[in-house]
Structure formats: C-alpha cells, structure tokens
C-alpha cells in the first residue's frame, strides 16, 4: 500500500470496494475484457466532458491540445480511461486511485502511449489536505462506491479552484435502474461481475444536486447517458436520467 510513499487516507473509502477493483486492475485496457462496459460508455462520457470543459473555459475543440494549461484531477482514475484522453487534449492530469494495483497499470499504459500523467496512489482527501487545487475535477462512476457521499463531495469542492468545474456521474436509484444495472448488466449480460454495484448506494439526481449544493457548488448541467440496444451504443439524453447520468457543477 505504500509503493509511492503516500499512505491512503481512508475516511470515505469503503475498503471492500477497493479490493474488488484491485482484483480487476490488469484488465483495464482490454476493450473486450472485464471493463468492456466502461469502454463502451467512454465515448459518450468523453463527449460530455470535452463539451462542458470547452464551454466553461472558452476552448476550441478543433484546435490542437485545446485543454493546454488546465489542471485536471481524475478521482478513481482506474487504468486511465479518462486521464489519457484528457492528457492527449493538453490538460495537466493528476490521476488518483485508492486501489494501488491500478496505478502501475495506468502508468505503464500512459508511458507506452507517450503521455505524461501524474498517477498517484492516494485518496481525494490526501490531495485536499496537501492543498492541491484543480481547474477540473472528475468524479465519474465513483460516488456510488464511497462510504460517505457528502464528505466526498465536500472534498471535491475543496479541490476545485474558483471558477473550476466538477463532474459527477452515477446511477439513479429506482426500479428501472435495479433492472438495468443489477439484473441486466451484472446477471443477464454479465457485463460486470456480480456485486460490482450496490443498488442501495445509487443516488437520485435530486439527492446528488442536494449533495453538490451542500458542498458549496452550483450545479450547472445534467444529462442522461442512455444505452441504445439497436445501435449498441451509448448516447447523451437531455431527458432520460432514469439509469446513468452525469452532472457538471461550478465553484463560484
């Protein structure tokens, strides 16, 4: 746990969740492996992130390295599925993961891809305590895995520089999301190992907005991410937030 000399603080991390992902770490970059669902979701998530970041910071996505000069934190970076694209677009990226097994996998892959990314085996709280500040904080598909959602959200807010943008995506808690995410994804399609998600930890959009506001951030946008079984693709939806959704919030 101490390979980088940085001890993980664990106030909000549920140790059982960390162990689960550590077991999967080596498979991160196989688009047909265990993380296939994330690979499938990734273009849709990235479309949302790049559009919102470009809008917030006035960047032109057709220009080379449009995110040059932006400091970005990817919390729960895993194998780097979001960190690498953000670095490729020019952002200065810190990828943090409490699962130490992910860090060497992510580092190796970034180096092989010619990308410079600062991967750290630590929790978001460690960075906040160290006084680090970021223009963009990503908390994607993570809040449903933390033990103290409000504490986690407060930490995200603390990590943001004024005018900074925080992204939080998660899964809605309703009968449909139980059918899709637990029954469908884990038991029928076997996209995810059984037990990946705990439905009771899913968060409704209203609950998430309340968490965001309590942390002192202004929610500015939210969109659904919807899987179309005909095109076999994910796409963004203005209206359908019934299962997967993503939010953007600003620190004034």
């Amino acid at each position: 746990m101490t390979e980088d000399g940085m001890e993980a603080a664990t106030q909000t991390i549920d140790p059982a969740e960390v162990a689960k992902f550590e077991a999967m770490a080596a498979e991160w970059w196989d688009p047909n492996g265990k993380f296939k669902p994330l690979h499938m979701l990734n273009p849709c998530r990235l479309d949302y992130l790049v559009t919102q970041i470009a809008a917030q910071f006035g960047r032109d996505l057709k220009a080379p390295r449009p995110f040059d000069g932006l400091r970005l934190l990817d919390i729960g970076c895993g194998g780097g599925l979001l960190s690498e694209p953000m670095a490729r677009l020019g952002a200065t990226v810190v990828g943090a993961d409490a699962a130490g097994g992910n860090i060497p996998v992510a580092r190796l892959h970034a180096e092989q891809s010619g990308l410079q990314i600062d991967y750290r085996h630590c929790a978001a709280e460690d960075l906040a305590v160290a006084g680090e500040r970021f223009d963009v904080v990503l908390a994607m598909e993570i809040i449903e895995h933390v033990a103290d959602p409000q504490g986690f959200m407060n930490t995200c807010a603390e990590l943001l520089a004024p005018g900074g943008l925080m992204f939080c995506s998660t899964m809605n808690r309703n009968p449909k999301s139980y059918m899709m995410a637990i029954i469908g994804a884990e038991r029928v399609m076997r996209w995810l190992p059984v037990g990946t998600h705990d439905w009771s930890k899913f968060v409704t959009p209203d609950e998430l907005y309340a968490l965001i506001r309590s942390a002192g951030l202004d929610p500015v946008d939210r969109k659904g991410m919807v899987f179309n079984p005909l095109s076999w693709r994910w796409s963004l939806s203005d209206r359908d937030l019934s299962v997967n959704y993503v939010t953007a919030s600003v620190k004034r």
């Binding site: 790049v50 057709k62 690498e84 694209p85 670095a87 490729r88 092989q112 891809s113 010619g114 410079q116």
Partner: protein, 420 residues
C-alpha cells in the same frame, strides 16, 4: 522509475505522424486531405512516381462519381479544381439488349429531376482527379507525400505501429491505413485474409468519340455476356465499360482498333451517330474480393484493399470514398474527444459503419450482374418484365437510384458536403 528514465521513454515514443497511409491512388489522398484539414498529421506512401499518375495525356480512364462522392470532393476543397472538366450525368438509362436488336421495350430510366437534386452524378477523367489530389497534398503542410516508396514491413508496438519503408527507414505512427488495392500488402501483413471469386468476365474500357452529343445521358445496356455502359465525358466523347466473358474479351483485346469498332458498333447502336476510338483500350478481369475484416490492431483498410467490386456502376471509387468519409469522421471525432486513434474500439466503430454497406452492395451488384448476364429466353422475358415493373414502381426506383447515387443509409458528414 525516476524522471529521467520516464522522459527517455516519452522521447522514444514521439510519433513521426499521426497516420501513415499506404497507397497514393485516389482513396489514400482523399483520406489524407480530409484528416489533414482536421488537424491530423499524415504521411502518404505511394509506390508509383507522382508525375506518372498526373500526365496530361488522356488515357481513356474515367470515373462515374456519385453525387455523394462529388460532395466529399467539394467538402475537402477539390471541386473548384475539377468542376470545369467534369461532365454532369443528367440521366441514367438502363435497358436489356442483344446485339443488333437494340434496347428492349421496357426501359429503366433514372432522371436526376426525380432526386430533387441535379445531376445524378459526374464523369471525371482519372488524370484530372489525380492531378487535383496531388496539388492539394503538396500544398498541405500536414501531409508528407513519399512517392516511389513502398511499405515493406509493419509491427505493432506499445502505443503505435512501426512501419518500415522500402528505403530502409521506419516511421512510428498511431494508425496504418491500407489503401493499397485489392492485393493489399498492409492487409496481408496484418494477417487479414480475403475471400474472392471471379466472374469469368473481363471489362473492356475505352474512350469513344461520337458524332452526336450525348446530352449528359449515361446508358447501360445489359447484354447476354455482360453489361455495356456508355458514360458521357466532356464534348462528344463517352467512356465505355464493356463486360464480356473472359474468352471473348481475350479475343476482342487482340483485335485491331478497326476490328474492335466493327464488333462494338452493333452493340453500341447508332443513337450517337458515327463512333471512333479516342484513346488506348484497357482490359480488367472482373472479380470480387472482400477482406474478412476491415481492421486489425492499429490497421484499417479502405477502398479496394477492403473490397474490390465489379465496376458495373462505377461503384469502386464511390464505395472507397464512403470508406474515406466514414474513417475520417471516426478518427476526427476520436481525436476531438482525446481517444487513441489506433485503439481497437475506435477502429471497430469504422468497421461497424462500413462493412455491412459494402458487403451488401458488392453482393447486390454481383446478383444484378449474374441475373442480366444470361441469354436464357425465359430469364430474358422475366428481365424485361422486371425492368418494366421497377420502372413503374416510382418509390422502388428512387430507392435504387439513391443507393446508386450513394445517398442512402447513415451518411458520413463529408458525403453530405459538410465539414467534419
């Protein structure tokens, strides 16, 4: 790992360009231009010398550009250089015929006015098209063109693919595109196998000068041994694509120009008055080849490298440009969201978009050709009736026209004439 070692790795990982395209014919340059205009760096490697491809002499070869292909050429800025030499095709007439009998009573008639857009397509000579591509590539700072150079080896390495060229040098790129034709070395080295079958037919291609104006009308006569297409070129000239059995074609190819014209005349008919040859004659054996996959790790195939089709409707180049438009859109969108251009999930999006379309079109043209290349009287009567029914059924005919014009299906933006 200390920082110095990490920096050394990063230095070693610098890509020479984003993409290397093997093949400098038409699809390769079209893709290079579309990508370069969206900010990607491209190396184009062509085994042929550049000037040989752009010589001024008319060699008789021409393309029937679908409307969608013309829109792509406009979107990548080439059309202003081409428009003055392009012959608009205002109508396409298809009919069933036998030598000496003229066209059957039922006529398949495609009129551009039915598509709400004029014309149906354009005829363009090879020399003008390639010259425009060459000029555009030379002035684009993001394109490096290496002529008289071939790819001799390729190796997938972490973060890219290392390509060895015939001069012994290597290039590290994110993606290698095989635009190197139906005997694609890129595909072969990537372990992509092909499926192919011959038609037992050969296409005889030549340019014809004729006495009367063609009025922009393209004709397709379905003859017992294969179709004869008469496609309008600027002035009183037309390009013919005459398909015959291999045995007949061999005999016809060996004939003198005078004897060739003597047997062409009854098939061609006299609707354009006197005819004579306006350039050299070419012959191409017709066969269909399909790559079993259009992608492999850090490799994508376009054009004939992916699918060599029967050229009965001039669809080879049109299909290739559809690959170009789809691949360019997939790669540019991936770039804008920060994805790795050579990642398997990015390449799968291209394959998923293109493979069904080209396989169905290839098989469809194969079926049409087999149905019409037959002199069985029952089939012939059925054909005449069938063509008449297609003619009578407006919506079906328009659907057929839209497919032939490349206007159906989910169209990549370049084929709609829009920037990516």
């Amino acid at each position: 790992m200390d920082n110095r070692a990490r920096r050394a790795i990063l230095r070693a990982m610098t890509h020479d360009s984003d993409i290397l395209i093997a093949g400098g014919g038409l699809n390769g340059p079209a893709l290079a231009l579309a990508l370069a205009q969206s900010g990607l760096t491209v190396t184009v490697v062509d085994a042929a010398p550049a000037r040989a491809r752009a010589e001024d002499d008319f060699d008789g070869r021409a393309y029937a550009l679908a409307l969608a292909s013309q829109k792509l050429l406009a979107a990548i800025g080439l059309w202003p250089m081409l428009a003055t030499n392009a012959q608009p095709m205002l109508e396409v007439k298809a009919s069933d015929g036998r030598p000496g009998e003229g066209a059957a009573p039922f006529f398949l008639h495609f009129d551009s006015r039915e598509l709400d857009q004029t014309p149906v397509g354009y005829m363009l000579e090879d020399r003008f098209l390639y010259r425009a591509f060459l000029h555009a590539m030379e002035v684009d700072p993001k394109i490096t063109l290496l002529t008289q150079t071939a790819v001799t080896a390729q190796e997938v390495v972490p973060g890219g693919i290392r390509v060895t060229l015939s001069d012994g040098s290597t290039r590290l790129v994110k993606l290698l595109v095989g635009a190197d034709g139906r005997r694609s070395g890129v595909a072969e080295r990537a372990g992509i196998t092909r499926e192919g079958w011959g038609y037992g037919q050969t296409a005889l291609v030549a340019a014809i000068e004729h006495e009367l104006p063609h009025q922009g009308i393209a004709q397709q006569f379905f003859m017992p041994n294969g179709p004869l297409a008469i496609l309008p070129l600027p002035g009183n000239r037309s390009s013919i694509v005459w398909s015959e059995t291999d045995a007949n074609a061999k005999v016809i190819s060996a004939l003198s120009d005078e004897d060739f014209l003597a047997i062409l005349r009854p098939r061609f008919g006299d609707f354009l008055g006197q005819i004579r040859l306006a350039g050299p004659r070419f012959s191409y054996p017709l066969n269909l080849t399909l790559a079993k996959s259009y992608v492999a790790p850090r490799v994508a195939l376009i054009g004939d490298a992916a699918h060599g089709v029967h050229p009965i409707a001039g669809q080879g180049l049109n299909l290739g440009l559809r690959d170009v438009a789809a691949l360019a859109e997939v790669l540019v969108e991936a770039t804008r969201r920060g994805e790795d251009l050579g990642a398997p999930d990015v390449l799968d999006r291209y394959q998923g978009w293109r493979r069904f379309d080209s396989v169905s079109l290839a098989l469809g043209m194969d079926t049409v050709n087999k149905l019409f290349s037959n002199d069985n009287p029952i089939l012939r009567a059925g054909r005449d009736l069938g063509l008449g029914i297609v003619q009578a059924a407006g919506p079906l005919r328009r659907a057929f026209m839209r497919q032939a014009a490349g206007l159906s299906g989910p169209l990549p933006r370049l084929l709609q004439g829009r920037a990516i």
